[in-house]
Symmetry: C2
């Protein structure tokens, strides 16, 4: 993973590196309880674009972070993300049967196993980030754990989920929709960027502010594009059920702003993301490229 | 909480202290999302015997641990315990309507909220244990987080749940039943004891071994007594549905050993617990008294 690599190559290298890391950090199927371990691996491995790990590695390049620490941080964030998808898909939440082109965990296994898989993956994320002999600075490692816990919980992802649940069938104002997404998906994307940077060094307030501005723009862009794709792409392309938000009567950027204005907003947010990382100069190349990827993706 | 206090007084002081700590560590209902926060508080506050916090504080007395650190450790363990009860009670798991004498979370709120409450409580536990300025030794704080994560996840509580799920309707040997309980409830009880001690100082191997022997005996005694009570007490006394294990065709100590032999085993395990903490001398008084409490309890 060198600085001169084309983005597509760098991305593939990160994706295959994180796949390998996740494989090593998940409990093996050869150990009991085998079915739980198998379901955890099913939920995490071989899936998704790994946007959060890309952000961890992209931000890690700013400060020359150690790749073993980045692997732990990226794996931890991805496990939190994967657990949230497993629980989200359950019948009492979104009741979805398809995820990343495969049957969801409660369909492939059963509901009780899906519940436990999500619970165990969350613990595993904190375990992975609390272990490892690679970070010489335990206070920084504590700061990373604190960051992940806050991003995952009631003040972050879970809180966003709760607001999302409460908003079904309601007409949200644009500001309320943004607030929901800032928590539901934004908190973990922000944590990914900051974890990657923290893996390199203790951060100055100005660095945190720049990274947060970047993360916020990318996070919202990600959601706007998600809504655009949900309204325009088909299930086979997405690997999950398309048109689901409209069918569920959930407020989206497309339902509030319309399709054309949503697309324009995504472009504007990409420009915001680029501008935010100007202070980091050439070293922020991967972060700029990830913002481009988020806006240009087709699935 | 002085060493000369009668146990009942000490216990009440710890219980009211942990109630206060939990109240402060849980997000307030005055902040959004209010319903999630209300449900988290409903699940955690004003409930249970607080056996795990008692173990944290009892072990903390061995090494003069700071009470602010003990409060964080005890609150974190209790949040993990409370989340596991919320998820356990859900329809796809034990499908129980009564817990600690109150409707379970999915009955009082709804299933989706119960799912999120459990998820958010787990994050909150790691957040509480990763925050705080009280522990001057960040490596020790990291060790505490690692301990809690391992106890909660696939190699601990969640793994035990998975084995429990898989064993419904099967005839387990005594050793298999023990293994299941060592993970399902034992791992978190063991973590409680070690967290309390670690809050005081870095532990020697011999200290860890003694505390583990104590925790294992208390953990198994706890489960044996649970099975005895499930078979003999009524729901009003227990504050949860009695006779549930037999109705669910779950293997228990009573179903394997019979009632009289189960009671004798509980007494033997209490003696084992007492013997394990002999090396700590008089300072282990609270740990001995907690072992007595676990065996003598009526609910």
């Amino acid at each position: 993973m060198t600085a001169g690599q084309p983005f597509a190559e760098w991305m593939k290298a990160v994706q295959s590196g994180i796949e390998h890391a996740l494989d090593g950090f998940l409990p093996p199927v050869s150990e009991a309880p085998a079915r739980l371990h198998a379901a955890m691996r099913y939920a995490v491995l071989d899936g998704g674009k790994r946007v959060r790990p890309l952000l961890v590695y992209g931000a890690g390049e700013l400060f020359g972070a150690d790749s073993a620490v980045l692997a732990r941080a990226a794996a931890a964030v991805e496990m939190i993300h994967a657990y949230s998808l497993v629980h989200d898909d359950m019948p009492c939440m979104d009741d979805d049967a398809l995820r990343r082109g495969k049957p969801t965990v409660h369909v492939e296994f059963d509901e009780a196993t899906a519940l436990l898989v999500g619970d165990a993956l969350q613990s595993q994320a904190f375990q992975v980030l609390s272990e490892g002999e690679t970070l010489a600075d335990p206070e920084r490692q504590l700061a990373m754990l604190r960051l992940l816990a806050r991003a995952a919980g009631a003040g972050g992802m879970c809180g966003g989920q709760a607001i999302d649940l409460a908003s079904v069938g309601l007409t949200l104002a644009l500001g309320e929709l943004e607030r929901m997404h800032q928590l539901k998906t934004g908190a973990l994307l922000r944590a990914s960027v900051l974890l990657g940077a923290l893996a390199g060094k203790r951060l100055e307030a100005a660095e945190v502010a720049a990274l947060e501005a970047y993360a916020e723009a990318v996070g919202l862009a990600f959601q706007v594009v998600d809504d655009v794709l949900d309204a325009t792409a088909d299930s086979a392309t997405l690997g999950k059920t398309a048109g689901k938000d409209a069918a569920d009567n959930k407020p989206t950027y497309v339902s509030i702003l319309g399709l054309a204005e949503s697309k324009a907003l995504a472009e504007k947010l990409r420009d915001d993301a680029h501008r935010a990382v100007v202070p980091f100069g050439e070293k922020a190349r991967r972060l700029r490229e990830i913002a481009d990827l988020v806006v240009q993706r087709k699935a």
